[in-house]
């Protein structure tokens, strides 16, 4: 009896998936293992970013177009800290998360009173301003010269170099973020967010302080984005303002829309499918049509909203499954 229950339990499904991922570096892929590993590391990084962004549109129903601003803030925090003070990744991650949360609150507090559309535009303005500051404040970020020479992360003194080490590191980060997001989802905070998403007026009358919970959602989402940025800087060893353009926000938004806004499994699935897709397209598409990839992402957004707005793993079905599971657990 306990085994059937276990089989359907989402936690078990995630754990087995991650266990399978751990085997990936040892699969016999021959020459292109590193290339495959690098693509999968990017995919897992975008999974983390998508989980972070999912908290704002997915849980609370607010469209956040400025997510790449926090991603950039996290990356530059990590880059600058490791160049000037040579801190290790384990010190930088919490600092980057705090910095992201700080900026999330500074942006969120005054703007979360606005209606949906205006809020989306203000977050968009914020991320463009972040890119401008990153590009023009030479004294801080060396502007368009970028930040080369960021030291790679090191565990117990051994600096990580090969791709499978980075892959395991990003898997570890994914598990931490997954833990955080699932705990939040099934807690008082998560229910308050879902209430805000379903019906703000009713949520208010149930005692949910709208502004406070929206700002908390925004701050947590920003800190996860900044953490992703911190890893990215350490992994890439070079960051440049043009890497944090508006397009990244659209790509991450596309992941959660494709996967299913509000459902954790859907967001992860979305990232797992769409990110490697761009590499496959690079091999398939002829030389000239190279930026046709962005065309396809734009199309995905339009078609998904048209025919399946709830995404691959609809939030409603996930809730029903969760409720069924709770019922069975109660009967045992």
């Amino acid at each position: 009896m306990r085994w059937q229950l276990y089989k359907k339990d989402p936690r078990f499904v995630f754990l087995s998936l991650i266990f399978l991922a751990v085997l990936l570096p040892w699969l016999p892929l021959g020459a292109s293992t590193n290339y495959v590993l690098r693509i999968m590391t990017t995919a897992v990084l975008y999974m983390i970013l998508a989980l972070g962004l999912n908290i704002v549109p997915g849980f609370t129903g607010l469209l956040d177009l400025g997510y790449v601003g926090f991603y950039g803030i996290g990356a530059y925090t990590s880059g600058l800290l490791s160049i000037h003070y040579d801190l290790s990744l384990w010190v930088i991650l919490p600092l980057a998360a705090l910095n992201g949360a700080l900026w999330g609150t500074i942006l969120g507090a005054p703007t979360l009173r606005l209606t949906g559309d205006y809020f989306a535009i203000v977050t968009f303005g914020f991320s463009e301003l972040v890119v401008l500051v990153l590009r023009n404040e030479l004294w801080l970020t060396r502007g368009p010269m970028g930040l080369p020479g960021i030291s790679p992360p090191s565990i117990f003194g051994h600096p990580l170099a090969s791709d499978w080490e980075f892959f395991y590191l990003i898997l570890l980060l994914l598990m931490i973020v997954l833990l955080v997001v699932t705990r939040l989802q099934n807690s008082r905070l998560g229910r308050a967010w879902f209430a805000i998403r379903e019906d703000e007026i009713a949520a208010q009358c149930c005692g949910v302080n709208l502004i406070r919970y929206k700002v908390t959602a925004f701050a947590i989402s920003a800190s996860i984005g900044a953490m992703g940025g911190a890893f990215y800087a350490k992994w890439f060893k070079f960051i440049h303002p043009d890497m944090f353009k508006f397009w990244e926000s659209i790509l991450i938004l596309c992941l959660i829309v494709f996967g299913g806004m509000g459902s954790i499994a859907g967001t992860m699935l979305g990232a797992l499918i769409l990110i490697p897709l761009s590499e496959v397209l690079r091999a398939v598409l002829p030389q000239g049509l190279f930026n046709a990839r962005y065309l396809i992402y734009g199309l995905v957004l339009v078609l998904m909203m048209r025919w399946r707005p709830e995404g691959l793993v609809p939030f409603k079905r996930a809730q029903a499954k969760k409720a069924k599971l709770a019922q069975e657990r109660l009967e045992i």
Binding site: L27, N34, N136, H240, Q287
Partner: protein
């Protein structure tokens, strides 16, 4: 679980390398995107050199396969392309990366895989000391800025100059070098104004320059924005102000615009000033592509030549090729290419002469007075 498994399998097929035995020399440059016209020059130069090598029996009997890798001048793409090349055992030397930001992104990956790379077009100053595996057969921005300041002072004799730079590493590197030398030579820099890659309205900044009444305006940016700046300046009534720029403006796009009469730029390659092989190269290039080669084509032609020569000499081991390239470090051992003699210093940079050419009634013509 089932979905994940079959997905991975289908994917391995796609990225599995083709096993036919030929020497692969990849060219990493922006073939699409805003700077596609520069990438095109590199493509033609490399293809031409590839044909010539194969016509002469290839390297140690094996044919040379020129592979074009498009990186859109975007650091993220460059890193993905670099990983792909670093993992390909058939690649032993890379000719590539035009934009400095994508070069900086690819550097750590090449160093990690001990893969030597020769850049025919990346002129940023800070790249040299970054990695022992990186060489380039083009001069650096600071040398170019210094040369331009000297040329402006001695040959043109301008006293008051304004600088209109684009906010990117190439353009700012040139500006800083030029201003340092200009201060030494007594040229007064009236002011500097900035623009971004996607600006089209330069009138506010140009109006400011108009009021300063400079003798000349230095545009260290790229050609697409250069033509706009010059024609918008002319329409603002700045008729007698001269314009000059660096290798970024050296492109046919400038010739099509009638306002750019009298514009002069520095360039590493002039058909009539270079050696005898240059004449052969220019004829072959015009026959194959129907237009004169710009300096990107010439430098890439040389870079592929240097790479082929290294492979011929020491085989396909990456470490040995790197040592061979590092050994070309003096004038007598230099590679005598189309764009002059190329030899590398300890940072992998090279010291090459710079020439000046200008637009005279609608054609690129080498300037009368060169500065040696």
């Amino acid at each position: 679980m089932r979905k994940l498994g079959c997905f991975l399998f289908a994917w391995i097929l796609l990225t599995g390398a083709t096993w036919a035995d030929s020497i692969k020399i990849p060219i990493a440059a922006p073939f699409t995107g805003p700077l596609a016209s520069f990438g095109e020059g590199m493509k033609n130069g490399a293809l031409l050199k590839g044909e010539e090598i194969n016509a002469a029996g290839g390297i140690n009997g094996k044919n040379v396969d020129i592979v074009l890798e498009d990186e859109l001048c975007d650091p993220k793409e460059a890193a993905t392309v670099a990983t792909k090349l670093a993992n390909d055992p058939k690649v032993s030397v890379v000719v590539g990366h035009l934009c400095s930001s994508s070069t900086l992104a690819a550097l750590p990956i090449y160093r990690g895989a001990k893969l030597p790379a020769i850049s025919p077009a990346s002129t940023n100053v800070s790249i040299g000391k970054m990695s022992p595996y990186y060489f380039r057969n083009v001069y650096r921005d600071d040398f170019q800025g210094l040369f331009l300041a000297k040329y402006v002072k001695i040959v043109k004799g301008y006293k008051k100059v304004a600088i209109f730079y684009e906010v990117n590493d190439y353009s700012m590197g040139l500006m800083l070098a030029f201003m340092k030398e200009a201060k030494k030579l007594g040229i007064k820099v009236l002011g500097t104004e900035a623009y971004t890659a996607d600006t089209t309205d330069f009138k506010p900044q140009l109006t400011k320059f108009k009021m300063m009444k400079p003798d000349a305006i230095f545009i260290p940016g790229y050609a697409p924005q250069g033509t706009l700046i010059i024609s918008q300046a002319r329409s603002l009534g700045m008729k007698n102000v001269a314009f000059f720029g660096a290798d970024g403006l050296d492109d046919d796009l400038m010739v099509k615009n009638p306002d750019t009469e009298g514009l002069f730029v520095t360039t590493p390659f002039l058909p009539d000033k270079a050696g005898p092989q240059a004449a052969g190269f220019v004829k072959a290039y015009r026959k194959k592509f129907g237009k004169d080669p710009n300096w990107f084509a010439a430098n890439t032609y040389d870079a592929v030549g240097i790479g082929a020569q290294a492979i011929k000499a020491v085989g396909r081991n990456r470490e040995k090729i790197r040592d061979y390239l590092a050994s070309i470090n003096s004038k007598d051992r230099a590679y005598d290419g189309v764009a002059g003699k190329t030899y590398f210093d300890k940072n992998g940079d090279c010291l090459k002469e710079a020439y000046v050419k200008k637009i005279k009634n609608g054609k690129w013509v080498s300037a009368e007075k060169q500065l040696q």
